[in-house]
Symmetry: C2
Subunit: 232 residues, 2 copies
Amino acid sequence: MNISILGTGIVGRSHAEKLSSLGHTIFIGTNSVEKTRTSTKSDDMGNPAYGVWAISHPEIQLVSFQEAVNASDIVINALKGEISVQILSVYDQTLIGKILIDISNPLDFSTGMPPTLFVSNTDSLGEQIQRTLPKTNVIKTFNTMSAPVQVNPKSLAHGEHTIFLCGNDLVAKNTVISLIKSYGWTHIIDLGDIRASRGMEMLLPNWLSIWQKYNTPLFNIKIVTNEIPTQY
Amino acid sequence: MNISILGTGIVGRSHAEKLSSLGHTIFIGTNSVEKTRTSTKSDDMGNPAYGVWAISHPEIQLVSFQEAVNASDIVINALKGEISVQILSVYDQTLIGKILIDISNPLDFSTGMPPTLFVSNTDSLGEQIQRTLPKTNVIKTFNTMSAPVQVNPKSLAHGEHTIFLCGNDLVAKNTVISLIKSYGWTHIIDLGDIRASRGMEMLLPNWLSIWQKYNTPLFNIKIVTNEIPTQY
């Protein structure tokens, strides 16, 4: 099917590659197609510019945000947290009735490293986005681990670790669970309605501590128990 | 050795039983010894009153907060988060040079269930306690799982799950790690100085979502990776 991704960073590209390899038609949305297409400068983390990456990914179609939102019934928000609400609000009418998979985290880098969260505890970015798009089915997921782990769960500990999701609409949630399973995920925990975004986003500070300690983002958490079934 | 525990709830009692079974001499501190000793009414969760529990635990000595803090060089804070700073500040002089193992969580039940956190993101209860007791070695640990899992890690998934700790003093941290190991823990992750309390306490909202979903507190998280050693 057609799937659109908003955001041209590593998270967006990782899902584009994965979904394309699974046979989907992928549109990546950006603010300025021309600027993104001709970019050549690597980012601060050493990741190649989109324009460089795109040369080896001719199957991925780079389009405007509006064209991306038009093209698909499933849209992935891989934008930075700080700009997510602002950009998504522009396309609220086009997004009515669609599924928005929200991967964003409310990271605030304004006071240096490690970042804090610009919304937490009594609200969340997932909830803010759902309030901004009241007629869109927002499903929060993937935000609790790094991009390589998100798209290739089997590459880490034989896939023996957990992905969470939450959202208000059960039908939309089942569609997203099918997509998640197609990535290779087996430990999938549905935490309920979109309010569970709070807990999922608040995992980030501890995730950052672990990253800092081990100097690798290639880890994840697994929920272990004697009683909970290990398969969704 | 002598170990003192502040707080007479399930967390305090669980550690008292465990540490006593390991051969330590245990003092439980309370605000009013007479009132606690003669209590007979179960709490809202159906846990027996301390006075009832104490009958089958004659080896545990119930004393005042001051006597408890006097008796040991290792003190466990198993008080409710909301009263921890207030009570600990009274004994700041006696606690100088001692180890305080902080298990408390900053849970705010004032707006109903699930609770929010009364401090998070840019500060934490662990840091507040360290600032309140600047000459005490505060080590945050055990706060990310339920009491039965804290004291009997092997009872859950053969002990294949993770406990975090953090604190500023390396010698004190090593003493606490030895104690944690004596409980049966093997997956121990030191997250650095006391600021890592933020991430550890912010795990609680997601922990509460999982508890609500599965209706059992008998679970924990395991950090999984291809690279990180599974032993401390």
